[in-house]
């Protein structure tokens, strides 16, 4: 094995990959949440469609999108691999455990929370991203995503699934945001506080913003 593959497949290397892809996905969430929040202008989707069009057609963004898909795939594959390795590291389980005495449940449930996000992602991409890109591929035309949102979020069950997806994301980020810095070795009294505050704020603001979108449409606040 070359030094590079050896480093990346080592325990610490796998964590560095989790951390870098996780932070990359966080940067994607910032852009995704910002653009989607344009629906709150309540201008019949004009601003939203303007930016959606830019994101869907700009060649630089479309190239970056390949990186995003790869980032997701690597994060998911590495995450599931790690979760399996970690589970295998204790073949015989304890009869009695008291884990809440030493750690938070969500820090111990990243694999589960990630899997819930993954299930949500499959549903979510088959609602918007996949139909839109396949239509672009077939006809060169973009779909009216704003109208699709208005239609899809009339169904209360869809709204509930989206809100649950946002909850999973909230818990995943509440541990993941800070954890990603620790994995890179960035853990020091002089900035731990700042990372913690930023992490908690991000974990609350972004999923709340996302959850408000289907809720607002369902309740007719955005139309």
């Amino acid at each position: 094995m070359s030094w590079f593959t050896q480093a990346l497949t080592s325990s610490i290397g796998k964590k560095v990959i989790m951390s870098l892809t996780g932070l990359f996905l966080i940067s994607f969430l910032v852009i995704h949440a910002t653009i989607n929040a344009m629906i709150f202008y309540n201008d019949g989707g004009e601003t939203f469609t303007h930016w959606g069009h830019f994101m869907g057609t700009n060649p630089i963004i479309r190239t970056l999108e390949i990186g995003l898909v790869l980032g997701f795939l690597i994060h998911i594959a590495d995450g599931l691999w790690l979760t399996k390795n970690n589970n295998d590291a204790r073949p015989v389980k304890y009869a009695v455990t008291n884990p809440s005495a030493n750690s938070s449940w969500y820090s111990r449930s990243m694999g589960l929370l990630g899997t819930l996000i993954l299930i949500f992602l499959v549903i979510h991409t088959s609602h918007f991203w996949i139909p839109n890109r396949s239509n672009q591929f077939a006809t060169g035309e973009e779909l009216n995503l704003y109208q699709m949102m208005l239609d899809i979020f009339q169904n209360i069950w869809v709204v509930i699934i989206y809100v649950l997806g946002c909850f999973s994301l909230f818990w995943h980020l509440l541990h993941g945001f800070e954890s990603a810095f620790k994995s890179l070795g960035l853990y020091h009294l002089k900035y731990n506080g700042a990372i913690h505050v930023a992490g908690v704020a991000f974990s609350i603001v972004v999923p709340t913003l996302f959850a408000l979108m289907p809720i607002s449409i369902y309740l007719g606040w955005v139309y």
Binding site: S11, A89, R90, Y94, A95, S103, K182, Y187
Partner: protein, 255 residues
């Protein structure tokens, strides 16, 4: 050791060797004093078992004063029992109530196979140390204190890391059976001092490689290890180890 009046039910893991299946046995114990240590309570249990012509419970112990790290017992779901910063040998029965049922299990990790009852094989830790947890330079006689200046913070951090007694409670507590708190303490105590510089890179690379080869799990940053560590080894060491390893891999000539 005064006789007391606590009555306890103990559920203890019994396993005759690595290759056989184990299981829990329940024992009733009377006359336990709140002033006894947890291991003294086990001594009473074993005397009782010997009198009944039964096999005593095998458990590791040596110093019985919190410095050797032998006394590995997973007590009611926590390594070394309910107190913070305390080994099993320093845990006293006053931390329990009369009438309690106490479940005692061995450390559970693929890398720590059970040898017998509560005794596990922790040679994996020794192999990690042999892989790089030392300095090969001849340090000679004790130097004049001021000839080798060491920043106070480094001396303090190295000393705190060196307090690790290699007990394995971090592995036992971690949901992933990860050994990273132990390994990072052993890497840190040398990486922070001048004598450790010559082999700094190769040490991080080799110790991490050996840790992985032993089959310990990976760190998810839950902090369970440092919360349960009897020597309260700081989580900061794991972040330092990550830095040491990333730095070593990206700069060393070795593989």
């Amino acid at each position: 050791m005064s006789a007391g009046n606590m009555r306890l039910t103990l559920k203890v893991w019994r396993q005759s060797n690595t290759d056989t299946q184990g299981g829990f046995e329940s024992y009733n114990l009377d006359g336990v004093s709140p002033d006894m240590s947890f291991l003294e309570m086990f001594d009473i249990l074993n005397e009782q078992l010997i009198e009944e012509n039964k096999e005593p419970v095998a458990f590791d112990h040596d110093c019985r004063e919190g410095i050797c790290g032998s006394c590995s017992m997973f007590i009611n779901g926590r390594p070394h029992g309910p107190l913070k910063g305390v080994t099993t040998c320093q845990l006293h029965m006053r931390s329990f109530q009369d009438g309690d049922t106490i479940t005692v299990e061995p450390w559970r990790a693929g890398a720590f196979p059970v040898i017998k009852d509560l005794v596990v094989d922790r040679d994996g830790f020794d192999r990690i140390i042999s892989a790089g947890g030392f300095v090969s330079v001849n340090t000679g006689n004790a130097q004049d204190a001021n000839s080798l200046p060491i920043p106070k913070e480094n001396a303090d951090d190295a000393f705190s890391a060196a307090a690790c007694i290699a007990c394995g409670a971090c592995v036992a507590a971690c949901k992933n059976a990860s050994a990273m708190l132990f390994v990072s303490a052993k890497i840190s105590q040398l990486a922070l001092l001048p004598q450790g510089q010559a082999e700094r890179n190769i040490r991080a690379e080799k110790m991490v490689a050996q840790m992985d080869a032993e089959g310990f799990g990976n760190c998810t940053n839950t902090h369970a290890c440092s919360a349960e560590c009897p020597k309260e080894i700081s989580f900061e060491n794991i972040a330092r180890m990550n830095r040491e390893y990333i730095g070593a891999k990206s700069s060393s000539k070795g593989v």
